[in-house]
Amino acid sequence: MTSIDNDLARVENEIARANPVPLTGLPSADSPYARQVLSEVLATSAPAPSRVRWPGRLPLWLNHSRAARLGIAATAVAVITAVAVSQMLPGSSPRISSTGRHKGSADVLTALAGVAAKQPAVRPPGHGQYQYTDSVSRTSAEFVYRRPFSVTFLQTRQIWIGWNGSGRLAEASSHPRFATPQDRAAWIADGRPRIPGAGTSDQRFGRHGLSDGPVNEWKLPTNPVRLGAQLRKRAIEGGPPGPAEDFVQVGDLLRETDAPPALRAALFKVAASIPGVRILGRVTDRLGRTGVAVAYLVHPRGRKYRGMYGLDELIFAQKTSALLDEQTVLVNTKAHTRTVTGWTAYIATGVVDSVTTVAPPYVKSATSTS
């Protein structure tokens, strides 16, 4: 055996030793955990469809087994950031249910659809071109040792996605913070393990390295009814059923994409048809830009969560329909807390000719962010 062979064998051993879940110690099929999973599975309907379908469960985080784990944790959560959306301050009651349709939301979204439709035509990235997006976010990273804990980072991100999924991703992370006091407590209980600090990365990706290219926005229907039907059938992207996922997928198709104006217009109209979507009004985002905030309101199920709800918020420029900012907010009306768990502000997007070229910003920022 040569020294190179020895080296490779040693590497294989080291990788095997780093196995986070060794083969020994896995739960057997007659363990309580296995029996519980089996009973849950067998309780689902058994017919074998001709094609794989989502099994009809509720969105995973809303199903009963998960909801049962939802405690009153949010009551102790500190507010990380506050945004001037006065009607959503702690203590206010949501004026709609997650199954209702908010009066006026359709008008605002239809107006945004009109603006989107009038935007200059764009072309998808051709050979040698890239869809560029520049953003800054407060993003959460989950670390799992003996206990999980979350750390948030301020992250700048530039991404160039080529026509074939190749491209470049340049990120810089700084200002790590524990997401909540509970996260810090978990980190201490874990023996204060070292965690990634500030750092940068700049990576190049080959074909399909950044995207599998599952969605070609130029081939999607621009008729809102047909588009909505495809989206709800999860024919565009997979995923669980339900309006919450509908809203997520509309957001997916509006960010970091080369969606043509007609499709963007249709997406706004689809959003208008999603129950639970509401308009929060005119707001100023973290970069000082004004826009209109659209949100999806989520009520966790169960008595324990009475008074708690969440908001997925998207902020659009009223003059261009561009997605400027988004954030996720947890509100506990009993504890009078409103927690922004993460946000992203989009600085620029556009088609560029190389991975070293950038697109101009949407709007000049009025302020910096932190």
């Binding site: 590497v11 780093a18 074998a48 099994p55 999980p148 992250q155 990120e171 600090g197 960010r255």
Partner: protein, 194 residues
């Protein structure tokens, strides 16, 4: 229960008993906590609903790995979609509710293992998976190729490329490690960001 239904259930339970530990290991090596539990339940739910389409042993085991792989990919894609409110809510409950479950999928706190894990994390997805299927999930190269849906030759290329890349990274780290600075300080934040 009709005889046909009973037979169907028995067939599923036999499959379940055979592959459960392996599938649990596969999922927990790539996904942690409550998310892993959801993925595991989802994989077996798919198998239950598709029982009549599952190939005979021993191919059924690889079919299950394939379902697990696709289910995980779906789960990861969802997780990558910016911040998912639901995930965060679930995390809050897990952390703040004092009901932290046993995390068999927890990453090792062993510094040497973390260096290896960091090196693996920088690999291309397909290369990374080639290494993990063989060295963590104990599949043969031929079985791993089947799970990944590629030819044996293509798999060998991936596997060797990945192994060499990890070796080179470990060698570079070894030669550069002149201080005891945090191991992951310069590692890109990938994979676990939500």
């Amino acid at each position: 229960m009709t005889p046909a239904a009973a037979d169907r259930t028995a067939r599923f339970e036999r499959l379940y008993a055979r592959v459960f530990p392996e599938i649990v290991g596969y999922v927990r090596r790539r996904c942690c906590g409550a998310d892993a539990d959801d993925v595991i339940a989802q994989v077996f739910t798919v198998a239950w609903r598709r029982l009549d389409h599952i190939p005979s042993p021993p191919q059924d085991r690889l079919w299950m790995f394939g379902v697990a792989r696709k289910t995980l990919a779906e789960s990861e894609r969802s997780a990558r979609r910016q911040r998912r409110l639901g995930v965060r809510l679930a995390n809050e409950a897990l952390i703040g509710g004092g009901t932290v479950t046993s995390l068999d999928g927890a990453a090792s706190a062993d510094p040497a293992a973390e260096i290896v894990l960091a090196a693996i994390a920088t690999l291309r997805r397909a290369d990374r998976e080639a290494l993990r299927l063989v060295l963590w999930d104990a599949l043969s190269h031929a079985e791993a190729a089947t799970v990944l849906g590629c030819s044996a030759n293509a798999f060998e290329i991936r596997y060797r490329r990945a192994r060499a890349a990890v070796r080179d990274q470990l060698a570079r780290r070894a030669s550069a490690s002149t201080s005891d600075s945090p191991i992951l300080d310069t590692a890109p934040l990938r994979g676990n960001a939500s």
